[in-house]
Structure formats: structure tokens, C-alpha cells
């Protein structure tokens, strides 16, 4: 089958769990290529992914893949691969049995099942552990096995819910390469994460989800601009806090400077974090500034979202 060209479409999609809102009025089209779904924990990413993989029935609106409804339409899953977020397995099977069983459900012959499971296990580097019980796998191995079951049938649409969680740097690189290869082949990939740099490493096209709604969608630069407009707090632990503060108070992008005597840190609020770090690095190198620790207390998605929704 020639891959690609499949689109996931949601139209006024909503989901309630009793009185609790899971997702509200989401209309979006996910085209071939990589789309990043970004949002803090509990934002509604997983609900959206469960709706587009037919695990949940929409309370309102529609969700289609290739113009076909997803709910109770198992045939669509010949072309869809899904890696769930939850760490769930048939613990008393081996990695190979788990993968072979699921490939069997996709309708492959015994020979194809063997061939595809061998290739998928090799891809995620689990060939040596393939005949061990999943119960004994480490977190990283379990994550890799989840990814292998999503790709073993070479789907046209790959839906990955927090796929890089628990992976070591090497495995992360491999998975990122796989996702990019899928894009090159014209397939559709939807990846969710609550970690911005993970999404940035994968795609330029992102959708921001917050409190069950799409907050913004578009190019990463647009989102970056929104984030950059957000004043960042940078905490610097140093032996000479006042000396350091004196070097920054004159900078136009530094909005405020505070001292935390108990922690021995200086808290800078800046509108341009990159320029701030560049100057700090230069000072440390040129003037031998004694910097023990640099942290960004609000450098997380939640604070960005709070800023974007005007909290």
C-alpha cells in the first residue's frame, strides 16, 4: 500500500466524563507530516488521542480518519498505529509474544508475524530481551516495546502519546529519527508531550492544548514568540549576588532583580531569556564570575499556559 495522505479530522469535538470536561469544541485537521500536541498534564491531550483512536466515543461532534468515523470502525486500524501513555502490558507474556499476538490481531500470517515482530524488536533494540517476560523489563524497555507495537505493522498514521517518556538518550534519538522518517515517507504522525523541547526536536507544527481546548496552533516560531513575550524568572546562585545584579540592572530586557537571602540566589525577571543567558555565560567566562547554579523556576509549560490564558 502506498502510504500517506491520510488526515485526521475533528469537528466540534467534545468529551465529558460525567460533569467533568475532558475536551471542548475542538475542530482541527491533522495532515500528513508531524504534528506536535503540546500541553501540561491534564490538558486533554490523552482524551483527544483516545477519541481519535476510537477508545472513547465523542460526547458531541465527530472525529474521522480518511473521512471514516473512528468509533466502532476496527478496519481503520489496519492503517493506524498507537502508542499509549499508560505503562500497561500483558505482564506474563514475553516481549515477542506480546508483539506477535498484537500482529496476529492485525491479520498477518504466521510468517509475516515472525518477520515483522523480529524487525520491530530489532528496531527498538529489544531483540536480546525478546524472550523474557515483560514483567522483568525496565521502564525504558517497556517504553520501547510500546513503540514497537505501534510501528510493527507500518501504519500510515502514527499516534504517539508521550512516546519519549522514560527513554535513554540513544533510544530517544532513534525514536525521533523514526518519526522524522515517517514524515519523509509522507505519513501522518501526531505526537503528544508536555515537554516543549521534545516537541521542538520533532516538528515545527504544534497544537497547544489547555483545559480541554485548543489554545493555539501553528508554527513553532509563533508559539516561541508567545513564550518569549512571557517574562521569565531566572535564579542564579552565586557568592556575589549584589555584584552580579549590578551588571544586569542596566539591561533593557531585565525587568526586575530580587534577592533571596536564605537561598543565596538572585532572581532576575527578563523578557529575553536567550540574551540573558548569553550575557551571563560571557560574564562567567570573561570575568570569572562565581556561578554555582542556574535554574528557571517558571521554565515549564504550565507557567507558559498560565501566561497565555492570562492568569
Amino acid at each position: 500500500m502506498i502510504p500517506g495522505g491520510l488526515a485526521v479530522r475533528a469537528d466540534k469535538l467534545g468529551k465529558w466524563y460525567g460533569n467533568v470536561l475532558g475536551l471542548s469544541d475542538v475542530s482541527i485537521e491533522i495532515r500528513p507530516g508531524i504534528t506536535g500536541l503540546l500541553g501540561p498534564n491534564g490538558a486533554g491531550k490523552s482524551t483527544f488521542m483516545k477519541l481519535i483512536t476510537g477508545q472513547l466515543r465523542p460526547s458531541i461532534g465527530t472525529v474521522t480518519i480518511d473521512n471514516q468515523p473512528v468509533w466502532n470502525n476496527p478496519e481503520i486500524f489496519r492503517r493506524v498505529g498507537f502508542c499509549p501513555e499508560q505503562d500497561a502490558f500483558y505482564e506474563d507474556t514475553t516481549g515477542r509474544e506480546f508483539l506477535s499476538g498484537l500482529l496476529g490481531l492485525s491479520g498477518y500470517s504466521a510468517a509475516e508475524v515472525r518477520d515483522r515482530s523480529d524487525r520491530a524488536l530489532a528496531f527498538v533494540g529489544l531483540e536480546d530481551a525478546a524472550d523474557r517476560l515483560i514483567r522483568g523489563y525496565s521502564r525504558g524497555m517497556r517504553q520501547r516495546l510500546k513503540i514497537s507495537q505501534a510501528i510493527a505493522h507500518e501504519p500510515d498514521i502514527l499516534i504517539l502519546d508521550e512516546p519519549l517518556n522514560g527513554l535513554d538518550p540513544l533510544s530517544k534519538r532513534k525514536v525521533i529519527k523514526l518519526i522524522k522518517d515517517y514524515r519523509t515517507e509522507g505519513r501522518t504522525v501526531l505526537v503528544s508531550s508536555h515537554v516543549l523541547p521534545e516537541i521542538e526536536a520533532l516538528t515545527q507544527s504544534i497544537v497547544l492544548v489547555h483545559q480541554g481546548k485548543i489554545l493555539a496552533e501553528g508554527d513553532i516560531h509563533y508559539i516561541r514568540d508567545l513564550i518569549d513575550a512571557h517574562p521569565h524568572v531566572v535564579a542564579v546562585k552565586t557568592g556575589d549576588g549584589r555584584g552580579l545584579a549590578a551588571k544586569f540592572v542596566g539591561e533593557a530586557d531585565v525587568l526586575s532583580v530580587r534577592f533571596d537571602e536564605t537561598e543565596g540566589t538572585v532572581l532576575f525577571e527578563t523578557r529575553n531569556r536567550d540574551r540573558f543567558f548569553e550575557r551571563l555565560t560571557r560574564l562567567a567566562a570573561d570575568e570569572g564570575l562565581d556561578v554555582e547554579e542556574i535554574t528557571s523556576p517558571d521554565d515549564n509549560l504550565q507557567s507558559v499556559f498560565d501566561y497565555l490564558v492570562g492568569k
Binding site: G54, Q55, L56, F77, D92, G101, L102
Partner: protein, 268 residues
């Protein structure tokens, strides 16, 4: 419905059933009739003339343990787990995102559980029979009783597992319901006089067993659990079989229907 998805679910589920920890526990439980048979047979051989007749003991083992306890317990735990395990362990995501209909999924898992339970229950019963009847294997009526016992146990396993599969699809505490049903309804109402007893599955299963009123092969129902053999209004065998088949089909059909329409949420 194509058979291929059903068979692939069956094969995968059979492997999971065989491997689970629960299975190991229930294999041990299903060996109990064999251990009981060995103890009773040793006792019988040690004091000839005083022990019970082998066939009478076997009929009591079948009635008192296998049919009214073992089959109920195994069907309850394996039937309810068909859906509940997938939801509780959050593994339902995997089959739910494969090109397999929900009907094929439920029926495939049901068939895998039932076939495993049949092997367990019937093997245990046959081995118990061979031990208890070791000195009377040429007795034809005993073999006929064995055949009918296996039929009752087989139908019991198939029908109860279908019922508990259905319970597992829509009840959150299906085990509690099952325990109440097995030991609060089936094991009580079957002794009610009149037609009330026909509201139990056990009534139809017992109707498949021979000589309920008068015992079997001259044993005259002298077993320890003779009171269990009391049957006020037996249903003809053909009617009992048809009823059990219909009940099984209805339970399994409803289980598929509920499972296809219900969405299952994992506890986060």
C-alpha cells in the same frame, strides 16, 4: 463475521490465560477432587467392606464439589476477568486499536477461557473417576454416569462463563455479583420446591445427571451429600440441553452487544 479475527484473539488470549497467576491458583484448586479421590480410595482399600462404593463417592464428588463449587468458581473468576482484567490493567487499548471487531474480541476471549476451563474441569473429573473406580472399570453404568457428569460439567462451564462474561462487561464489581449469584442464588434457590428451582442454571445441569432420585447403579444415593441429590421437578434432558444452549447464546450475545456499545474508562 470472518473467523480469522476470532481465531487470532483466541490464540493470543489462550496464551495469556495459560500464563496468568490466577490460572496457576485455579489449577491447584481443580486438583482438589483428585486429591480427595486418592484419599478416599486409600481409605476404602485400607478398610475393605467399610468404605463407600466408588461410584457413590464419585457422584458425590461431582455433585458436591465439581458442579456446585469448582465450575461456579472457575467460571466466575475467568468469565468476569475477560473484560475486567483488560480494563483494570489498562491493556484494553491494544486490542481496541487493532482491526478486530469487539464481537470477535469478546467471543475469542470467551472461547479461550472456556476451552481452558473445560480441559481443567473435565481432566480433573476423569482422573478422579479413574482413581475411585480403579477396581470396577468394567462396570458399564459407571461409564455412562461419567459421560453424563462430563456433559453437565461441560454445559455448566460454558453457560456460567457466558453469564459472568456478560456481568464483567457492564458491572464494575462483577465478582461480588457473581459470588452472590453462585452461592446466594444458585446454591439456594435450586432446592426450592415447585417451579422456582427452574430459575436457576443449576437445575438444568442437574437434570442432565442420571438417577437423581434413586442414586446410580444400585448405590441408592447413599453418599454423604445425599440431600443435594434431591430434585423435585426434573426437566427432561432434551429440554434442559436446549435451555442451556439458549441461555449461553443469550448471555454471550448480550456480552458482545454491551461491549460494542460501552466505552471503558481507565482509573487515572
Amino acid at each position: 463475521m470472518s473467523m480469522a479475527p476470532f481465531l487470532s484473539v483466541y490464540r493470543f488470549s489462550a496464551k495469556i490465560v495459560r500464563r496468568s497467576k490466577r490460572t496457576k491458583v485455579f489449577i491447584a484448586v481443580s486438583v482438589l477432587p483428585v486429591i480427595l479421590a486418592v484419599v478416599l480410595q486409600i481409605n476404602r482399600l485400607a478398610s475393605p467392606g467399610r468404605g463407600l462404593d466408588g461410584l457413590a463417592v464419585f457422584s458425590n464428588v461431582v455433585m458436591g464439589f465439581c458442579l456446585q463449587f469448582l465450575v461456579l468458581l472457575l467460571s466466575l473468576f475467568f468469565g468476569t476477568s475477560i473484560t475486567a482484567d483488560e480494563v483494570d490493567n489498562k491493556t484494553l487499548t491494544y486490542p481496541a486499536t487493532r482491526p478486530v471487531s469487539k464481537t470477535a474480541f469478546i467471543l475469542g476471549k470467551y472461547a479461550a477461557s472456556v476451552s481452558f476451563l473445560l480441559v481443567l474441569v473435565l481432566t480433573s473429573t476423569v482422573v478422579s473417576f479413574l482413581i475411585l473406580m480403579a477396581d470396577r472399570l468394567s462396570y458399564g453404568a459407571a461409564w455412562a454416569f461419567l459421560g453424563k457428569s462430563l456433559a453437565a460439567l461441560g454445559f455448566g462451564t460454558i453457560c456460567y462463563t457466558a453469564l459472568f462474561t456478560l456481568a464483567g462487561t457492564f458491572l464494575k464489581k462483577s465478582i461480588l455479583f457473581g459470588l452472590f449469584f453462585c452461592f446466594g442464588w444458585e446454591n439456594v434457590v435450586q432446592y426450592f420446591p415447585g417451579t422456582t428451582q427452574k430459575f436457576t442454571i443449576m437445575h438444568y445441569l442437574k437434570s442432565l445427571l442420571p438417577g437423581m432420585e434413586a442414586g446410580v447403579g444400585g448405590t441408592e444415593g447413599t453418599g454423604l451429600l445425599k440431600f443435594l441429590l434431591f430434585r423435585q421437578e426434573p426437566t427432561p434432558v432434551v429440554t434442559a440441553v436446549i435451555t442451556l444452549v439458549i441461555l449461553t447464546a443469550v448471555f454471550a450475545g448480550l456480552a458482545c452487544w454491551v461491549f460494542s456499545r460501552k466505552e471503558y474508562l481507565f482509573d487515572e
